[in-house]
Amino acid sequence: MSSIIRGRVWKYGDNINTDIISPGQYMSLPAEKQAEHAMEAIDPSFSEKVRPGDIIVAGKNFGSGSSRETAQMVLKHLKVGAVAASSFARIFFRNSINVGLPVVEIADTSLIHEGDEIEINLIEGTVWNHTRKEEYRGTKLPEHLVDMVKLGGLEPYLAKKLGISKSQEEVK
């Protein structure tokens, strides 16, 4: 996972829970089918309009509820570049780092609007808004996670720790 991500914004409100991102009733379907239903409870056309590299920007408590990683899986399947929110639910934040879905916490996301072009620096925890020429300071990642992010998630990190020599490509 690259630590700089640039993309176009889709904007949502507070409390986007994992039942919204990845509804339970489709969870036993293959990833591409599940992805068609991502966010549909609040935005039925999301999976059609989102394009690779787009960034989701939301309010407080993004990803609350279930520990399901299908939430990250559908977003990655739709090639969402990153999620920026005012705050994340604990398990969602951990899972995102682990599977290599970039996430950044910025206190006030109300300054970012739908359609803006933004650039996230994951390691610094900063966001540059190209549309509005503004910078927002986010929360820096805890140090012990920076390595994991740089390597692309928990799996490559574990591979390194366990001394399993696999190229990044094979591991992904």
């Binding site: 409390n15 039942d19 408590n61 279930s66 399901r68 639910a89 599977v99 366990l162």
Partner: protein, 424 residues
């Protein structure tokens, strides 16, 4: 400096004398729990790529509960995968068709005071009701735990929630936890632990305590703890656990992020309204709201004491003709015990349908999901949009008594008017 329950458990698990909130520690979980839907099926590919060898199979517990009995071919495939995986890795602890994982691990003695339990499900926090530190993790994170036997955790601050006084008839631990979540808010305890204490908590049975810890995550908490006492010992002995049990509580001088005080005797029945668990109101505010389905079950409120309460209300009465009432005992043990006590008969005679122990419609997986425009009154723990089926449906949450009263009237009802009948 004194330590909280969380600090004590994480200190032991990380091999340190003392830890404090905010520390990041490497810990060795005592139990790694997975269920069918978020377990081996998702974990296996990465696990294999990294060597595929379990660090310690005795610490791994797998429960098939979300896809049981399978409603679709895909669910059957997941179930088969899970079963085969458990066999291939010679897991000593694999359970299926026995009920939701959280109840199963409690009943089979895997949960003990002071243990660290990580599970691939957000309601893993339920085990905290017995004095364990228990929290949900993702499937990828589980790969690391399975391979290395350890992971990192941030030691959480603790919000202490004190309930003193005595609950009045018709008011239950579900009402206590809904009221608490309302006040803390659905993200109010994010990255923190909640510890429930006070005389009203101590007088609850294990069945009723687990409701509180189960729903801690609905306030965003990492875990929900209850200090362990003789009730925990009694419960474990009744499940055939003979080992010595070390009780655990926070030190007198432990530091809490904040403390909330409640008087249980002032509490009224509470209902969580669509579509957030902290959208909680006293039952009077929503009394009379018509429903299509009533759901008594789940790891939150499908235990024996819940079925007893519902039977007490439904005995000699009939449920409304306009609704269906699904009863889902939280485990095979609960099913059999309720059967012995005549509870299943009482519920069936009242017009309820008794299903098998499973996650069922609680998470919108199998039997009993709802369609567009349908309204459910449920004893489960989440009412998010789309949680029990259609995103155009609505879910209200309440105690088993409120659920039973609602079944009779076909509209959300105050359970207190039905509490006079005895079950035996």
């Amino acid at each position: 400096m004194g330590m909280t329950m969380s600090e004590k458990i994480l200190a032991r698990s990380s091999g340190q004398g003392e830890v404090k909130a905010g520390d990041i520690v490497w810990v060795k979980p005592d139990i790694a729990m997975m269920h069918d839907l978020l377990g081996p099926w998702l974990v296996d590919p990465g696990f294999r790529r990294l060597g595929g060898r379990l660090y310690d199979r005795d610490k791994v517990v797998v429960v098939s509960d979300h896809c049981t009995p399978p409603a679709t071919v895909q669910q059957a495939d997941i179930l088969k995968f899970t079963r085969d995986w458990a066999r291939e890795h010679e897991l000593p602890y694999y359970y299926e068709f026995e009920g939701p994982c959280h109840q199963v691990i409690v009943e089979h003695g895997h949960v003990r005071p002071g243990r660290l339990i990580l599970g691939t499900d957000s309601h893993t926090c339920m085990a905290g009701g017995m004095g364990a530190f228990a929290t949900g993790i993702g499937s990828t994170e589980m790969i690391g735990v399975l391979l290395t036997g350890e992971t990192w955790l941030k030691v959480p601050e603790t919000i202490k929630v004190v309930w003193d006084g005595e609950l009045r008839p018709g008011v239950f631990s579900k009402d206590m936890v809904l009221k608490t979540i309302k006040d803390i808010g659905h993200a109010g305890a994010t990255y923190q632990a909640i510890e429930f204490s006070g005389s009203a908590i101590r007088s609850l049975s294990m069945d009723d305590r687990l409701v509180l810890s189960n729903m801690a995550v609905e306030a965003g908490a990492k875990t929900g703890l209850i200090e362990s006492d003789e009730e925990v010992v009694r419960f474990l002995r009744s499940k055939g656990v003979t080992d010595e049990i070390e009780l655990l509580s926070s030190d007198e001088d432990a530091v809490f992020a904040k403390t909330l005080y409640y008087n249980a005797s002032e509490l009224e029945p509470q209902i969580a309204c669509p579509h957030e668990v902290d959208n909680v109101h006293p039952v009077q505010a929503v009394e009379g709201t018509p429903v299509d389905q009533v759901y008594l079950g789940s790891c939150t409120n499908g235990r024996l004491s819940d079925l007893r309460t519902a039977a007490q209300i439904l005995k000699g009465r009939k449920i409304s003709k306009h609704i269906r009432c699904l009863v889902v005992p939280a485990s095979q043990y609960v099913w059999m015990q309720a059967n012995k006590e005549g509870i299943l008969d009482i519920l069936a005679e009242a017009g309820c349908v008794v299903n098998m122990p499973s996650c069922g419609a609680c998470g919108g997986f199998t039997s009993g999901v709802i369609g567009a425009g349908e309204v459910v009154m449920s004893s489960s723990n989440r009412n998010f949009r789309g949680r029990m089926g259609s995103a155009q449906g609505e879910v209200y949450l309440g105690s088993p008594a409120a659920v039973a009263a609602t079944a009779i009237e076909g509209k959300i009802a105050d359970p207190r008017k039905y509490m006079e009948l005895e079950v035996h």
